[in-house]
C-alpha cells in the first residue's frame, strides 16, 4: 500500500469556509507562553512585539492552510542579535514552546551550542559532530550562540566551512524537522551574513535585542532578589542604583548577566559577614535574608 497516513485522504478535499482564529489561539496556549515571557523578562518591548507578530503570522498561516490556500512550508529560521545578557536564550526557549504549541515543531526542545560543539579539530571529525548535534535538535530548536565563530576566513583549512555546509543543507531540506536560531553580537553577525549569504537567505526573522536601560536593569536585579528570597535594605538599593551606571561603563558588561553576577557576589559577602559575627549562635530570618549596603559597596566597581 502506498499511502496510509490518515490525514491524506484521496481525491478532492472539502475545505471549511471559516476558521476560528480566536479559538485556535486559545487552544494553542500561546498567550500563556507570552505572559510567562513578560514575567521572566523585564522590558524588551520591541522583542516581545516581534514574537507576538511571528506567533500571529504562524496562526494565520495555519488558518490559510486549513482552507487549502497554498502557502508553502514556512521558513522559521531566525537570528537573534544583541549584546550578552539581553535575554536571547530565554526568548529562544519560549520561541521553541510557541512553535511546538502551534504545531511547527514536534518536540519543542532547545539545544544550545557553540562552535566547539559543531566543529572538530581534525579532518573528518566535523561532519559527524555536526550531524550528532543536528540529530539531538531534530524536532526542536537548534540555538547556535556566537554563530560567526563558525566562519574563520583567515584560516584556509578551517573545518567550520564543513559544519556550515551541513547546516545550510538541513535548514533548506528539513524545514519541517528543525528550526535554527543563530545568535550573537549584531555587528559581527552582519559581517558573518555578508560572507555567508546562504544563511541570510534562509533566515526569515531577524530580531534585535536592545541593551537594557539603567531603570530596567534595576528592575531585573529586584526581580532576581525577590525570586531568591533576599531583601535589599533602602541603603543597599541606593548603592545598587549607583552601581549600575558604573558597571555599564566597564568592559565585559553583559546586561542582565552582570546584574546576576553582582548579586551573587553580594550574597557571598553577606554570608561572609554573617559568619564573622560574634553572636552567630542565633541568626534570625531577617539576618539571613537581608543584603546590606556594605555587601555591595565592597565591589571593585566602587574602587576605581
Amino acid at each position: 500500500m502506498t499511502d496510509q497516513s490518515p490525514e491524506k485522504s484521496e481525491g478532492a478535499q472539502a475545505f471549511p469556509d471559516s476558521f476560528d482564529l480566536e479559538g485556535e489561539f486559545a487552544r494553542s496556549n500561546v498567550q500563556a507562553v507570552l505572559e510567562k515571557l513578560d514575567r521572566e523578562l523585564v522590558g524588551l518591548a520591541p522583542v516581545k512585539q516581534r514574537i507576538r507578530e511571528i506567533a500571529a503570522l504562524l496562526l494565520v498561516d495555519k488558518a490559510r492552510r486549513s482552507m487549502g490556500l497554498e502557502t508553502g512550508a514556512p521558513t522559521l529560521h531566525m537570528s537573534f542579535t544583541g549584546n550578552p545578557g539581553t535575554g536571547k536564550t530565554t526568548v529562544a526557549l519560549r520561541m521553541a514552546e510557541i512553535l511546538k504549541n502551534l504545531g511547527y515543531v514536534r518536540q519543542g526542545h532547545l539545544i544550545s551550542v557553540t562552535r566547539d560543539d559543531l566543529v572538530g579539530q581534525y579532518i573528518g571529525h566535523t561532519a559527524p559532530k555536526t550531524r550528532e548535534v543536528i540529530k539531538k535538535a531534530m524536532g526542536g530548536v537548534l540555538f547556535i550562540d556566537e554563530a560567526y565563530y563558525l566562519y574563520k576566513p583567515e584560516n584556509e583549512r578551517d573545518y567550520g566551512a564543513e559544519a556550515i555546509e551541513i547546516l545550510l543543507q538541513v535548514m533548506e531540506n528539513q524545514r519541517d524537522d528543525l528550526v535554527v536560531i543563530l545568535a550573537g553580537y549584531a555587528n559581527r553577525m552582519e559581517v558573518f551574513f555578508q560572507s555567508n549569504p546562504g544563511f541570510r537567505s534562509r533566515i526569515a526573522h531577524h530580531i534585535d535585542f536592545p541593551d537594557y536601560s539603567e531603570k530596567e536593569l534595576m528592575s531585573i536585579a529586584q526581580l532576581m532578589v525577590d525570586a531568591q528570597h533576599y531583601v535589599l535594605t533602602p541603603e543597599a538599593q541606593k548603592v545598587l542604583r549607583d552601581y549600575i551606571p558604573r558597571r555599564m561603563k566597564m568592559p565585559h558588561f553583559a546586561n542582565a548577566r552582570s546584574m546576576r553576577n553582582a548579586l551573587d557576589r553580594a550574597k557571598l559577602r553577606q554570608a561572609n559577614r554573617l559568619f564573622g559575627r560574634k553572636d552567630r549562635t542565633n541568626l534570625t530570618r531577617h539576618d539571613l535574608t537581608t543584603i546590606e549596603a556594605e555587601d555591595l559597596l565592597q565591589s571593585r566597581v566602587f574602587q576605581v
Binding site: M1, T2, D3, Q4, S5, R106, Q107, H109, R131, I134, K135, K136, M138, G139, G140, V170, Q174, D176, D177, L178
Partner: protein
C-alpha cells in the same frame, strides 16, 4: 500463475510498495515511542544468513525525533543507495527480549540479481543445498553494476 515480483523479501514490509519517507518516519516514530534504539545498516549481499550487515552508524540510543534517524537514512542512501540494500533496525534492550524488535528495508539496489541454489548430491538421494548470492561473485565495489 501469479508470482511475487521481488526476489528479496526480508524485513517487516517487503511485500508492500516501497515505503515513502513519511511512512518510514512513522515507523521510526513508533520505535522511538517504544524506547527502542534505531540503527541503519547496509549490505550488498542479500544472503538470508548474512547476519552482519555494515553498520552505517551506532544505534541511536537517545534520539527523540524520527527526523534524526531519517537524516542518517538519507546520508546512507547518498553514499551507498545506488547499489546496496539499506535497512532500518530497532533494538529493544528490555529483559526477555534484548534483541532486534523491528527491521525493514528502506533502500534497494537498482538491479537485484537474487540468489542461486546449488545442489550437491549425496548417497540415498540426499542433497546438500547451498544458497548463493550472485552479487558476491564479484568483489565488493563491483557488484550490482
Amino acid at each position: 500463475m501469479h508470482e511475487n515480483p521481488r526476489n528479496m523479501t526480508q524485513g517487516q514490509f517487503s511485500f508492500l510498495p516501497p515505503l515513502t519517507d513519511d511512512q518510514i518516519k512513522a515507523q521510526i516514530a513508533y520505535a522511538i515511542k517504544q524506547g527502542f534504539a534505531v540503527s541503519v545498516e547496509f549490505t550488498d549481499d542479500p544472503h538470508p544468513r548474512n547476519t552482519y550487515w555494515e553498520m552505517w552508524c551506532q544505534p541511536m540510543f537517545d534520539t527523540k525525533d524520527p527526523a534524526a534517524v531519517m537524516l542518517e537514512v538519507n546520508e546512507c542512501r547518498k553514499t551507498w543507495g545506488a547499489n546496496h540494500y539499506i535497512k532500518v533496525q530497532a533494538f529493544d534492550n528490555a529483559r526477555w527480549r534484548e534483541s532486534v524488535a523491528m527491521s525493514f528495508i528502506v533502500n534497494r539496489p537498482k538491479y537485484e540479481p537474487g540468489l542461486a541454489l546449488a545442489r550437491q548430491e549425496g548417497p540415498g538421494r540426499s542433497i546438500h543445498y547451498t544458497v548463493h548470492s550472485y552479487a558476491t561473485d564479484k568483489p565488493r565495489g563491483e557488484r550490482y553494476k
